[in-house]
Each structure stands twice: as C-alpha cells, then as structure tokens.
C-alpha cells in the first residue's frame, strides 16, 4: 500500500519536469533559430518525443506511484501502453503507402 513507501522528493521531480518543459520549448524553436539547418528537424522531433516520454514516465512513476506498486500490478496497468504502440505500428503501412 502507498503508506509503506517513503515519500519521493516531489519538489525535485517538479523541478525536473519544469526544466524539461523549458528545454522542450527551446528545442522546438531550434529550426527557427537555425534556419539553414534543414536536417535538424529529425533531431528535434526525436529530442522532443524523448523528453515527452521521460516526463510522462516521471509523472506515472512518481506522481501516480507506479514505482511503489507491486510488479504484477504495474504489468497489468502498463499493458494499454503496449496496445497503444501496437495501434501506431498497425497504422504505419498507411503512412508508408498512403
């Protein structure tokens, strides 16, 4: 139960989330700041999605206490994430041949 775990440092996680948000916005403006670097777009998209993934993971792990739940419970509730990935992968042919 949640009473058992030590409280994580929420303020630290808050600061990490805010720093990542600021970084995200900065990265989003890269293509504008360096207009001659056309190829930078792929990098910015990867960076942005990576940071969003880390932020979402932090929220789920600490704020939603997933890090402190039993393993089998975590597996069950993260299964929709797997299904969501399947959903996107199934749509990829539509992108490739669309």
């Amino acid at each position: 139960m949640s009473e058992d775990h030590k409280h994580p440092n929420y303020i630290l996680i808050w600061i990490v989330l805010l720093v990542l948000t600021v970084l995200e916005v900065a990265v989003a403006f890269f293509p504008k700041w360096f207009p001659d670097m056309g190829s930078v777009i792929g990098i910015t998209i990867t960076l942005l999605l990576g940071m969003a993934f880390v932020k979402a993971g932090l929220v789920a792990a600490y704020f939603m206490h997933l890090k402190f739940e039993q393993k089998n419970f975590v597996i069950i509730v993260s299964f929709p994430l797997v299904l969501a990935c399947v959903l996107v992968i199934l749509l990829l042919p539509d992108v490739a041949f669309g």
Binding site: K32, L83, A84
Partner: protein, 234 residues
C-alpha cells in the same frame, strides 16, 4: 476457528495486486481512456505525415506556443499540489489537504481559462499585428486574411482543414478531461470540508488528475512543439 483461519494463507482471490478495488477500477478506466487518446494521437500522426507535402502548416506559426507552454507549467504545478494534498491526506493533516486540493482546483480552472482564451483568439481574432496577415482557426481549418479595399478577404489555406480539426479535437477532448477533473476535485473538496473523505478517495482522484497531466505532456509535444516543416521552404 480463528487459529485455523490464521494458519491458512489468505484468500488469493483477494488482494493479489495489493491495491484497493477503487484504485484498480480507476486504473482500468485510465487504461481505456488512454487508448482513446492514443487513437486520436495515432490518427493525428498518420494524417499529419500523409499531408506533409500538402502544406501542413507550422504549428508555431498559428498556435500560441508561449501561452500553452505556460499552461503546461500550470498543469504540472497542479499535479504537484495534488501529490502534496495526498501527502496531507496520508498524514491526516486536513488543513494541508484542503489547501492543496484548493490549489489543484485553481490550477485546473486556470488551465481551462487559458484554453478558452486561446480558443476565443482562434475564433475571433486578428492574430497579426502591424501589417501582418491575421488569421482565424475555425473548427475545420485556417483562414488567412488580407485587407482589400477596406474589406477583409479570407483565404483558406491548402491542407489546413485537417490541421484545424485535429487540433480542436485533441485539445478539446483533453479540455473536457480537465473540466471533469475540476468538477471531480471540487466534489472531493466538498467531501473533505464535510468530513466525509478517506485516503483512498484522495489517491484515486489524484491518479485521474496526474493522468490528465501526463496526456497533456504528450499532446503539447506532438501538437504544438513538433515542427515538420523545413524552415524557408514556405
């Protein structure tokens, strides 16, 4: 009888996952809700990639990134006040619980207020200042305006219908979640004021609230921040 009961292991059909029924139910709901969002996100990604050649507009050009970044900040802060409220609930510290619940409600309400401001801007606005072309982002697209003989002439951008409708569907679907969350939190707050609350309820409303925050982090990134247009290629 009681000794025999103590000797036999607990009924494995109960408490296998170590969570309360209510918490499990909320997680099941969040799983299905997450799938709804994922369906929208997947559709958005496919539509956008398939329409890159068809002049998918640059989000930074039409959406207010600074305002929404601030909105994201507000939502993240309200998530932190929610865990603080839960901390208060765990410690049976009712004043702390009430204070942070109220702050969370305020954060959610501010988020909604800013979203309304943003939408209002899209419906009615003249985005451009000092000679720049104004625009409108209607439910189904983008119009750019030009002043011709004292009259505004609106032209509809190619490929913009999808931009407008996908934007509104995703942000409004999320906005509805924030609204429900604010109402949900409000009733929980009333319960706390009346003394009818428990830690489990606070934790469950917290789960919902953090989920709404989590989804916004993803939507903000994909809809507002990701640029697919090479600068200078108009």
């Amino acid at each position: 009888m009681s000794e025999a009961a103590a000797a036999t292991p607990g009924d494995v059909r109960k408490q296998v996952l170590g969570v309360t029924d209510g918490k499990m139910a909320m997680w099941i709901f969040l799983g299905s809700d997450g799938m709804s969002f994922m369906g929208l996100i997947a559709a958005y990604v496919v539509l956008r990639i398939n329409n890159l050649d068809n002049d998918w507009p640059s989000p930074g050009e039409y959406l207010g990134i600074q305002l929404t970044a601030f909105n994201t900040f507000v939502l993240i802060c309200s998530s932190v006040t929610m865990v603080k409220a839960f901390e208060g609930a765990l410690a049976n510290d009712v004043p702390k619980l009430k204070k942070y619940l109220l702050l969370t409600i305020l954060g959610g309400a501010s988020f909604l207020g800013m979203q309304v401001y943003e939408y209002n801007h899209f419906f009615a606005n003249t985005h451009g200042v000092d000679g720049a072309d104004p625009f409108r982002l209607f439910l189904s697209g983008i119009w750019e305006g030009k002043l011709i003989d004292g009259e505004w002439a609106w032209s509809h951008l190619k490929g913009s219908t999808l931009f407008g409708s996908t934007f509104f569907v995703m942000s409004a679907f999320h906005g509805c979640h924030v609204f429900s969350g604010v109402v949900y939190l409000f009733f929980i707050y009333i319960g706390v004021c009346n003394g009818s609350w428990n830690k489990n309820r606070i934790e469950i409303v917290g789960l919902y609230w953090h989920f709404v925050d989590l989804v916004w982090i993803v939507i903000f990134t994909i809809v507002y921040l990701v640029e697919t247009k090479v600068p200078g290629s108009s």
